[in-house]
Symmetry: C2
Subunit: 389 residues, 2 copies
C-alpha cells in the first residue's frame, strides 16, 4: 500500500491490478456543505472480488480516522485493518461480494486532501476547505456511479467509518440495502468535540505546523504525536491500561530522576503512548489529521434534516448496530439510542472487549455470527450468491 | 489572596492577621525522595479558628492540583474552594476546630516552587527538582511541628488533596486520628499517568516554555491552556457535557466556516474549554503545573513500603472514603479498593453528582451527614469541643 505523499497519478486509475491494490479516480468538482467548491477531486480506493451482473453484491467498507482503504490483504503483501472480517471465505466473503473501500476525502492515502496539489500546483495546506462526513459521502456516491453500483448490498464501518456508513444510509436510502455501524454514533457529542479540540490545538501549537503550510519543511511531528496520545487514551479502557502497565517504570528508566532540562524517566504507559505517537507520525499527515478531526466533529446525521430522529426515520436499510461494552469514547448508550431511533429492522449486538473503543478493530469477529445469519448470509438463497458475475 | 509570583517575605511569617489570610514559614532544607536536597523550603498556609490547649482540635485541609490554601473565606474578601464544608458553624466548624491549609510544595501560591528564587537569586525554573506527594507531606510535618500540632484531629482532601491526606495517614499514622479521602486513589493509575503525560507534553511543546526558564518573558500560555483543556474534560462527565452543550455552535460562530489560517468558528463546548483554559493560565504557573502533575503521577502510597496493602495496613486513622459516582478520572472502584484495604474503621460514602470528578468540589456537602455524626461530631462529647482553647 502506498502511503502519503498521496498517489496523484490520475492516469493510473484502474490500472493497478488485483485485490487490495490502491487505485484512484477523479470524481470532478465537489460542492461542499459550507458553500465552497473543491475542484478536481480524486478518490483513492481498493476493491476485492468481482461485481456481479446486476451489481447487487457490492459492499462498501469505511475506514476510521487514520485508517486507509486497505481493509484486507488481497493480492498485496500487507494485512488489512479488518482482515478477520473481510477476505475469501470470511464473513464478508470476497469470493461472493465485490468489496470496495475508499480513502476518505481529506485523507492522506490517495484521495484529495490538504497534502494534494491545489490548482496552482502547490499543496493545499492551510487553504484546504472544511469538509464534512456528508461531503465525503457525496464524493463516494460519484465513485459508486463510476463503478456502476446503484445500490450497495451493504455499507459498513467502525468509529468514524460507522459515521460514514450511517451518513450513506441517511443521504441515499435507496442506495443502501444494509448498514453496519460499529462503535459509532448518530452525531458527535460534546465530549467527542472537546477531545477533538484538544487534538487540533496540539497540532496547531507545534512551531513546525506553520498554519498548515509546512510541506517541504519539517512536519509538526510533536503536535501530531500529542494529538495521537490524547486520542489513544480514549481509544482504550482504563482497566486495560491498568492491567497492562499499572505504575511500572519503563525498564532502565527512573520517573523521579531528571536528566538535562528536567526530562525524566518514563512510566511504561508513557513509553506505550510514545510508541503509538511515533507510529502515527511516521505514516500520517498532520493536516489530514486536523481536517478529518474537524470532519468528525461535524458528524451529525440530523443536520439540515430536521434533527436526528427524522433523519434516521428516513433510512430504509436493515441495520446492525454494534457498540463495544468498554468503549468510553463512543459510549454504548449512543449505539442504543441510534438503534432505538432507526425505523426498520435493527439488530443490536454489543461487542464484549476489554480494549475499549479499539474493540471495533480487535474484536470485530464477535459479529461473525450475527452477520453470517443476516446481512452476509452465506446460504444458497443469498442474493449475492444467487447471481454471480 | 495573593497569587503568584509567590509571597517570599519570610520575615512576614505569622504577621498576616486573621482567618483565611496567607502567611508563610520556613521549614528548612528538605531531603527529597529522589536523593536531592531542596534548600530553604518555605510553606505558605492559612488558618481558621484557634488551636486548643492540648492541640487536639487541629484539622489539615489539602487542596487539589491547581488549588490553593484558601479553603474558606475567613477574614478575607474571597470565598474558598471548600466554602460549604469549612467555616463557622459548618461541617468542619472553625468555631471549634483549628483548620490549617497549606499550599503544596512545588506550587505557585506561596510555597517554594519553580517560580521561587533558588539560592542564586534566579527562579528555579528548569532546575526545580522532582518532588513527590510524600516529599510534600514531609515538609508539612515540619509546619505541624512549628504550629505545635503533634497529631491532627483530621486530615482531609479531594483528588490530589485526597492523595495528600492518605499519604499523611500512611507516613505518620500516629499523627492522624481521622482521614477524609474524597475522589482519590491509593496510587495513580496507568490512565491517570497517561493523561498527565499528555498535559506535560502540551506545556513542553509551547515555544514559550523554553524548558521551564521563561520567567521574565512571555509564559507558555497556550501549552498550559491545552493541558487544562485535556484535564478539564476528564474532570467532568460525558452526560453532563452533552446535557449542557450538545453540538450547539457558539452564538455568532460557524464551526464549518474558516477564517484566515483555517481558524473556524467554535462549538459551545470549545468555548467552554477555552474559558477554563484562559481562567487557569491567568492564575497558575506552567512550571508548577508541570511539577505538580509529575508529583501526582508519583502518587503511590505503597512505594518503598512493600506495596499498597502493607502501607494501608499500617494506617491507624479512622477513614471516610468518598468517591463520586460519575467520576471517570478517579473511578469509584479505586475508592472501593482503597476502603477495602484499610484496616481500621472505614466509612464509604459515594457522592451522587452529574459533574464527574469535580463533584468533590461541587457536591461535597453531601458528606455533611456522615461527617457530622462521626469525624466532625458536633455533640457535646466531641474532643475538640470538650477542651476549647
Amino acid at each position: 500500500m502506498t502511503i502519503f505523499p498521496a498517489v496523484q497519478d490520475i492516469d493510473g486509475c484502474f490500472t493497478a491490478p488485483g485485490d487490495g491494490m490502491l487505485r484512484c479516480t477523479g470524481v470532478g468538482d465537489l460542492d461542499l456543505e459550507n458553500g465552497e467548491t473543491l475542484p478536481s477531486v480524486t478518490l483513492a480506493y481498493e476493491t476485492w472480488g468481482r461485481l456481479n451482473k446486476n451489481a447487487s453484491n457490492a459492499v462498501l467498507i469505511q475506514h476510521a480516522l487514520t485508517g486507509s482503504s486497505h481493509v484486507s490483504r488481497g493480492d498485496s503483501s500487507e494485512d488489512g485493518w479488518w482482515e478477520e472480517l473481510v477476505g475469501p471465505g470470511r464473513t464478508i466473503d470476497t469470493d461472493r461480494y465485490f468489496v470496495v473501500a475508499t480513502n476518505i476525502l481529506g485523507g492522506c492515502y490517495g484521495s484529495t486532501g490538504p497534502s494534494s496539489p491545489a490548482p496552482d500546483g502547490d499543496p493545499w495546506g492551510s487553504r484546504f476547505p472544511a469538509v464534512t462526513v456528508r461531503d465525503s459521502v457525496y464524493a463516494e456516491a460519484r465513485l459508486a456511479d463510476a463503478l456502476g453500483i446503484d445500490r450497495w448490498h451493504a455499507v459498513a464501518g467502525g468509529s468514524l467509518g460507522g459515521a460514514r456508513a450511517l451518513e450513506w444510509a441517511a443521504t441515499y436510502p435507496e442506495r443502501v440495502a444494509n448498514c453496519l455501524v460499529v462503535a459509532s454514533t448518530a452525531a458527535s457529542t460534546a465530549e467527542q468535540i472537546g477531545y477533538a479540540q484538544a487534538q487540533i490545538a496540539a497540532i496547531r501549537m507545534d512551531p513546525h505546523f506553520r498554519n498548515g503550510d509546512y510541506y517541504g519543511a519539517a512536519p509538526p511531528v510533536q503536535g501530531l504525536g500529542l494529538a495521537r496520545r490524547i486520542a489513544h487514551i480514549t481509544y482504550r479502557s482504563e482497566p486495560e491500561l491498568q492491567h497492562r502497565f499499572g505504575r511500572q517504570p519503563q525498564p532502565g528508566e527512573s520517573p523521579f530522576t531528571h536528566g538535562p532540562s528536567r526530562h525524566r524517566g518514563r512510566y511504561q504507559v508513557e513509553s506505550y503512548l510514545d510508541h503509538h505517537a511515533a507510529k502515527l507520525t511516521s505514516r500520517f499527515d498532520a493536516n489530514s489529521y486536523l481536517v478529518l478531526t474537524e470532519l468528525l466533529m461535524s458528524h451529525d446525521v440530523g443536520r439540515n434534516r430536521g434533527g436526528i430522529s427524522p433523519a434516521l426515520a428516513a433510512c430504509t436499510a436493515s441495520f446492525v448496530v454494534a457498540p463495544v461494552d468498554s468503549d468510553r469514547l463512543y459510549f454504548p448508550q449512543q449505539s442504543y439510542d441510534l438503534a432505538a431511533a432507526l425505523p426498520g429492522p435493527v439488530q443490536l449486538h454489543t461487542i464484549q472487549a476489554a480494549e475499549g473503543h479499539d474493540g471495533f478493530l480487535t474484536s470485530v469477529s464477535q459479529l461473525d455470527g450475527i452477520l453470517r445469519t443476516g446481512m452476509f448470509d452465506a446460504g444458497p438463497s443469498a442474493t449475492a450468491y444467487a447471481d454471480p458475475s
